[in-house]
């Protein structure tokens, strides 16, 4: 199949950036989206052009490194799928595809489709952990955990930190990401001692990074490759309100 790609090109943080059109010929429907870009890039390199820079690593949907807005949707229109797991068979022959980076002030573009997501690391630094030095832990069976709680905690902990939630949110909010970590640790007995200071510190850091506020539009969970539920945001709000009292 042949495709027309409209790709955001931006040589660096100070460049204004623009959409550039490329033709992708003889694309196999079995290719992944990134493999399709690989092929385009191989051609660009040989022509002496700068290949399209994009982040990627594991290419199996778990590292969270890849991510681009495809036809207006973070990670593309296939639900619960990272960009690397999206395959070309979901596109029509002759289709025109727009490809843009995550757009948010706290995620400045480094080059083309590569953005700086270190704001997420700083949110975790603010409190997304349980303080437990190596070797100081009690036996793993010392505290039983209800299976339901462990399962719910896992559902939140499965976040891969890709940033699609921010990219999709009309407010540019990082609530789903922050809430996923808060909820994960909130639901487990091990997370209780630091529960409220964690929620407060993480939410404050999120705001300080310049992310927008949550208006419960649900866009985040709709594009989340791991399907993190909005419940996590309710949990974050509960903890934050308690902590702010």
């Amino acid at each position: 199949m042949d495709l027309t790609l409209k790709v955001w090109r931006q040589s660096g943080p100070d460049d204004a950036g623009r959409m550039v059109t490329y033709l992708a010929k003889d694309v196999s429907p079995d290719m992944s989206f990134l493999e399709m870009l690989d092929v385009v890039n191989e051609k660009l390199i040989l022509e002496g052009d700068d290949p399209i820079a994009f982040d990627h690593d594991c290419r199996e949907g778990i590292c969270g490194m890849c991510g681009m807005v495809i036809n207006g949707v973070a990670h593309g229109e296939q639900r619960a799928t990272t960009t690397c797991q999206l395959h070309m068979r979901h596109f029509e022959d002759g289709a025109e595809i727009t490809i843009e980076p995550w757009r948010a002030a706290p995620f400045p573009v480094i080059k083309d489709l590569v953005v700086d997501r270190s704001a997420f690391d700083r949110i975790i630094q603010a409190g997304g952990f349980v303080s437990v030095p190596a070797g100081s832990a009690p036996d793993a069976h010392a505290v039983p955990v209800r299976k339901e709680d462990a399962d719910d905690a896992f559902d939140a902990a499965t976040c891969i930190g890709c940033g699609a939630c921010v990219a999709a949110c009309p407010n540019g909010s990082a609530s789903l990401f922050t809430a996923a970590k808060i909820t994960h640790l909130s639901l487990l007995p091990q997370g209780q001692p630091e529960r409220l200071i964690r929620a407060k510190a993480m939410v404050d850091q999120m705001d300080a990074e310049g992310f927008g506020g949550c208006t419960n539009t649900g866009e985040c969970t709709a594009v989340c490759p791991k399907g993190i539920p909005l419940d996590t945001i309710a949990q974050m709000n509960t903890d934050y309100l308690k902590a702010s009292r």
Partner: protein, 641 residues
């Protein structure tokens, strides 16, 4: 062809004598301690932020050292440990099913086909129990039972249920635990984090590892970082095959640079090939995806009896199907160990009976399981895996059999380390998959996570402390630093200057094909000699004809790739040499010349019960042998008939 010489025998001088149960306790007690007030003044560099590097940096920071942590990804949370699915072994014996530290030790030594050190493996088993405690305390959401206690399952043919897991994402959850601990230290100011930084050279001053040269991958700036000790936790080198289950960025550059600077490389030929991966679908394929081994519990593996049978699987009647694993290994059937299943698949494909694009695949069929258990039951057990398969291939495994094929998955070889995890360069410590120490010639399922965390949380902090307490080691020689930096700059300039007509990826792909064809699942003297001819020729072309676009002073993914491929060439050559020299078959290394009457791997303990540690010298590689002695586990030959 590359020539090698044999050097002096090598010995691990750090493992204490005495009963194996007491060795780690003895070592811990004999290790010198660093005064807490002095720790702040001691700088440690940790490269890599996977389970080993992440946990090490966090723990060293917690202890009060001044740590600098480096990773090439945009966040330490992305290291490829995150992709580990199955679980983590620990000798907790929570089931009361007869597990013990000794049994885990025994299984690991045996599973490694008697090519690992007993002392190291025993310590690994011993520490395994602490890992689970640590992870639970960090909030890792392991699977639990209704009683609130941790659930376990049996894995990789173990007879006890000792694998702890968090759905199919155990690696992710454990890594996030380590990552969170690491970020906590970043906030506390004990760890300084350098993301999007790639180590390109090791600084050796006065015979000791004293720092690294890195490239800031965003600005292209070359930076010098010096320290009192350097820890490499940069993972395995499976990407030398181009196609593997590794992340695209995984590379050998860090350990290869260290090897060039004097660190011995041990057992480079030991590669693990996983039998159940989604096959290659075309020339453009960029990586392979693993499907959990658990699928073989209910799926039946087959190929058509006749070569070149192009019919759809559903149109092939039972009598024209060859359920070859069940036929050849009636006792274990579809559940034979990884290496055996992988090789059997290769054999039937070599006979022209493979299925799918290029004939490189075999069927894994759930028709009978669905008939017997019902679709719902199968969906409950494997639903997420089926979905993943469907997403990638576009085929529905409920109505047509899956196609699977083996893929490179893990490398047991790595930099040689002693019991203290210190390489042959003093002050250079190597942990996790990057070292060679614990898995011998074959790694058991659910043991990689265990080793990474054991090294990072529990072993390294003690042994590194001992090394530092024996210091100080003086000022870093400025000339050594400058020399390392010049090496880096020269290499980059050289790569940029070629301006040829082939991309780094096209070279990498070709190198990978050579490795897969001639140094893959089955190796022969002939194939290895062939590879050793092809690799230097391709390397020569690379340095003459590679094309790197852009400039070095910017984010340049082509340059990054080119540098990594350059090192893969040299590593590939050493792997083939190691495979050629080791004429026996053991674990993941199968030499066609060394098999028994049934076609099974045949070890040669008389000549090869040793670690092959390679030194790189200007006159070519020098082989140092470390003899392996088995005082506790009796050496025996495996059989799965």
């Amino acid at each position: 062809m590359i020539e090698y010489t044999e050097g002096e025998a090598l010995r691990d001088a750090k493992a204490p004598e005495g009963p194996i149960e007491e060795r780690w306790a003895k070592r811990k007690f004999s290790a010198k301690l660093v005064n807490p007030a002095n720790k702040r003044k001691l700088n440690v560099i940790v490269v890599g932020t996977g389970l080993a590097g992440g946990s090490a940096a966090a723990t060293l920071g917690e202890l009060g050292y001044n740590v600098k942590s480096f990773c090439y990804q945009d966040s330490p949370r992305r290291a490829h440990s995150i992709a580990a699915q199955g679980g983590i072994n620990a000798a907790k014996n929570y089931r009361g099913d007869g597990d013990s530290i000794y049994r885990l030790f025994y299984d690991t030594v045996k599973g490694g086909d008697f090519r690992a050190r007993e002392s190291n493996v025993y310590r690994l088993a011993e520490v395994s129990v602490n890992i689970i405690d640590q992870a639970v305390a960090q909030g890792v959401p392991f699977a639990r039972e209704y009683g609130g206690l941790l659930d376990t399952r049996s894995f990789g043919g173990a007879q006890v249920s000792r694998t702890f897991y968090a759905r199919g994402q155990t690696g992710q959850q454990l890594l996030l635990g380590a990552y969170q601990a690491l970020e906590r230290q970043v906030k506390a100011g004990t760890v300084e984090m350098f993301t999007r930084h790639e180590m390109l050279e090791l600084i050796v001053s006065d015979g000791r590892a004293r720092g690294i040269i890195v490239r800031d991958m965003v600005t292209g700036e070359i930076e010098r970082h010096t320290a009192d000790a350097v820890v490499l936790a940069t993972g395995g080198y499976g990407n030398v095959f181009f196609l593997s289950t590794n992340a695209k960025g995984c590379n050998t550059t860090a350990i290869w640079r260290a090897h060039e600077r004097g660190a011995y490389f041990a057992n480079p030929c030991y590669t693990q090939i996983h039998p159940t991966c989604i096959p290659v679908s075309g020339e453009y394929q960029s990586k392979l995806t693993l499907m959990s081994e658990s699928l073989r519990n209910d799926g039946r593996v087959w190929v058509p009896v006749a070569a070149g049978d192009q019919r759809a699987p559903g149109d092939i009647p039972d009598e024209e199907r060859d359920y070859y694993l069940e036929r050849i290994y009636p006792a274990f059937g579809n559940l034979v160990p990884r290496d055996i299943a992988s090789r059997a698949a290769k054999n039937v494909c070599d006979e022209g009976r493979g299925v799918g694009p290029g004939g490189l695949g075999v069927y894994l069929d759930f028709r009978d399981a669905i008939g017997r258990l019902g679709r719902d039951a199968v969906e409950k057990k494997y639903g997420n895996l089926f979905e993943m398969y469907e997403r990638i291939t576009g085929e529905d495994p409920y109505t047509q059999p899956m196609r699977i094929y083996p893929a490179v998955h893990y490398t047991m070889g790595g930099l040689w380390v002693d019991y203290d995890l210190q390489s042959t360069v003093p002050g250079l410590f190597v942990i996790g998959e990057a070292n060679f120490s614990d898995h011998g010639a074959n790694r058991l399922g659910a043991s990689a996570l265990m080793q990474g965390l054991a090294d990072g949380y529990f072993v390294l902090p003690t042994t590194l402390g001992d090394y530092l307490a024996n210091g100080p080691y003086g000022e870093v020689d400025e000339e050594a630093v400058a020399e390392a930096e010049i090496k880096v700059r020269t290499k980059i300039d050289r790569l940029m200057a070629v301006n040829g007509t082939r991309t780094p990826d096209s070279f990498h792909r070709e190198l990978g094909k050579i490795m897969w064809d001639f140094c893959g699942m089955e190796r022969t003297e002939e194939s290895l000699r062939k590879a050793l001819e092809l690799i230097p020729a391709l390397r020569e072309e690379f340095w003459r004809n590679v094309k790197v676009s852009g400039t070095p002073e910017e984010l340049n993914q082509v340059l990054e790739k080119a540098g990594r491929v350059a090192d893969f060439f040299d590593l590939a050559e050493l792997m083939c040499l190691d495979a050629l020299v080791r004429t026996e078959s053991c674990g993941g290394h199968f030499r066609a010349e060394s098999q028994d009457a049934d076609g099974e791997a045949l070890r040669d303990d008389e000549h090869f019960a040793h670690v092959s540690a390679w030194e790189r010298t200007p006159d070519g590689p020098v082989l140092h042998k470390e003899a392996l002695e088995y005082d506790y586990v009796k050496m025996s030959q495996r059989s799965y008939k």
